[in-house]
């Protein structure tokens, strides 16, 4: 079976190649094989597979990767819309000031 891909052209993953030092940590932590080695650096080769888990950005010591991390969970977004911020599961962290979109979703 081919890999499962969700909606196209939506993810917030950003790579700044000029900052990349080619350490390859993102290749290890990405569970969706989004990256590949490219001339001693890293390139995004399967952008639509990204699920914005944020592992690459958090572990990029060079600061070359950024992504608005969160869990793609409809239930969490519903809880947020209903103002249930203290749900044991499927919650969304409170919106930060000036942030147009809701905060990071968390789920289980």
């Amino acid at each position: 079976m081919a890999e499962l891909i969700y909606l196209k052209n939506v993810v917030t993953l950003q790579l700044q190649p000029e900052l990349c030092v080619g350490c390859g940590t993102c290749l290890d932590v990405c569970p969706r094989a989004v990256f590949a080695r490219d001339n001693g650096k890293v390139a995004i080769v399967n952008r639509d597979a990204c699920m914005e888990c944020g592992a690459c950005g958090r572990n990029c010591a060079a600061g070359a990767l950024s992504v608005r991390a969160g869990v793609g969970c409809a239930h969490a977004l519903i809880n947020a819309a209903l103002g249930r911020t203290n749900a044991a599961c499927c919650a969304v962290e409170p919106k930060e000031k000036g942030e147009p979109r809701p905060g990071r979703t968390t789920c289980c």
Binding site: M1, A2, E3, L4, I5, Y6, L7, K8, V10, V11, T12, T25, L27, D28, V29, C30, P31, R32, A33, A49, C50, M51, E52, C53, G54, A55, R58, N59, A61, R68, A69, G70, V71, G72, C73, A74, H75, A76, L77, A88, C89, C90, R101, P102, R104, T105, T106, C107, C108
Partner: protein, 351 residues
């Protein structure tokens, strides 16, 4: 020390460390079965801290895990016959992946737990093996800076650990990629189903009451029969959205979960309608059938959309985009169906 899976203790430089076995007992398997059926799932925990599996020494590898007992059990059963340390973080009983998303399986807790357990006095090396899915909560370079321990990300699945260790701590691309095959989807179904059935228990009596009370004329037996058909219709929606949509996920057309759920729900609704038409081939019967042809697919679409949280490939941005379109449609279509259903009730459903 009074946890049932602790079988003894191992003497170390800091004193006794609880010893565990990689062999699971019937009690462990029963616990797994229960949480898979959504029973006590939010309170299935291991006391955080350091554990010895087998007879580890100062050179033995250290695995880090969450204190959700299901995660802990998968780890210890994966490495039979090996001597390793297991450092259990306090993730409030949540699995590695979700706790990493919340940040409880995170840099701060890991550094804190290394200090609290006095790990640096138990082992001479400075290496930790973390599950790869913990990486969204842990910054390896910061852990190194703050604790002196180097984080090595192991495979996603604990069962790949023996191969990972034997290959000099190298994970293959397969071990690093999260799959979501039919077996992995199916084990998640009971939790979704039980969650939805808890709502059915509330909604079913209301459907019965509405059918029995609102239609003019006889209460019994046609009112009860109509109520039963309504409950069955609602169950068709629930099963379409929580069982068939997740299991059939990759084979259903569309990328958004709502569309997948809608299509399964529509199919189920058509089968229900064909059966219902046999018993009430009248104008009011036709209105009732149209009503459920609207309600079933919209409810199934909503439930399937909620499976995004359990899936392993949906992004937050994607789910937001899907919901912006899908939720208003689900509410609108479901409301239209309900209005029609009440109209049919008022006209004296069932002929």
């Amino acid at each position: 020390m009074d946890q049932p899976f602790v079988i003894g203790s191992v003497t170390t430089a800091i004193g006794e460390v609880p010893q565990i076995s990689s062999r699971l007992t019937w009690r462990d398997h029963w616990g797994t079965f229960k949480v898979r059926w959504n029973v006590g799932r939010m309170d299935y925990k291991v006391v955080p801290g350091l554990y010895a599996l087998g007879k580890p020494d100062a050179e033995s590898p250290v695995f880090v895990s969450a204190n959700y007992k299901l995660s802990f059990d998968r780890l210890r059963e994966a490495v039979p016959g090996r001597d390793v340390w297991i450092l259990v973080l306090d993730t409030h009983g949540i699995n590695v992946w979700c706790a990493a998303g919340k940040g409880t399986f995170g840099t701060d807790e890991l550094v804190h737990r290394i200090e609290a357990s006095r790990l640096a006095e138990v082992v001479l090396h400075r290496r930790l093996i973390l599950p790869q899915l913990g990486a969204s909560g842990v910054a390896a370079h910061l852990v190194k800076k703050r604790s002196g321990f180097k984080v090595i990300y192991g495979p996603i699945q604990a069962r790949d650990l023996p191969a990972f260790l034997d290959d000099g701590m190298k994970a293959t691309p397969e071990m690093r990629t999260k799959s979501f095959n039919v077996r992995e989807r199916t084990v998640l179904v009971p939790v979704e189903l039980v969650e939805a059935l808890r709502k059915v228990v509330i909604i079913a009596p209301m459907l019965f009451l509405a059918s029995a009370l609102l239609r003019p004329g006889k209460f019994w037996p046609t009112g009860v029969a109509d109520g039963l058909y309504s409950v069955v219709a609602f169950l068709v929606a629930v099963i379409s959205g929580t069982v068939f949509a997740p299991v059939l996920l990759p084979w259903l057309p569309g990328r958004s979960f709502s569309v997948k759920g809608l299509l399964v729900g529509l199919l189920g609704a058509l089968i229900w309608a064909a059966l219902r038409w046999q018993t009430s081939a009248t104008w009011t019967g036709a209105i009732e059938i149209v009503a459920w042809l609207l309600i079933i697919p919209s409810v199934a679409a909503f439930l399937a959309m909620n499976f995004t949280g359990a899936s392993t490939y949906t992004s937050l941005s994607g789910v937001q985009k899907e919901m912006r379109v899908a939720v208003p449609l689900q509410i609108g279509v479901c409301a239209a169906g309900l209005i029609l259903w009440f109209v049919a009730l008022g006209m004296g459903m069932g002929g």
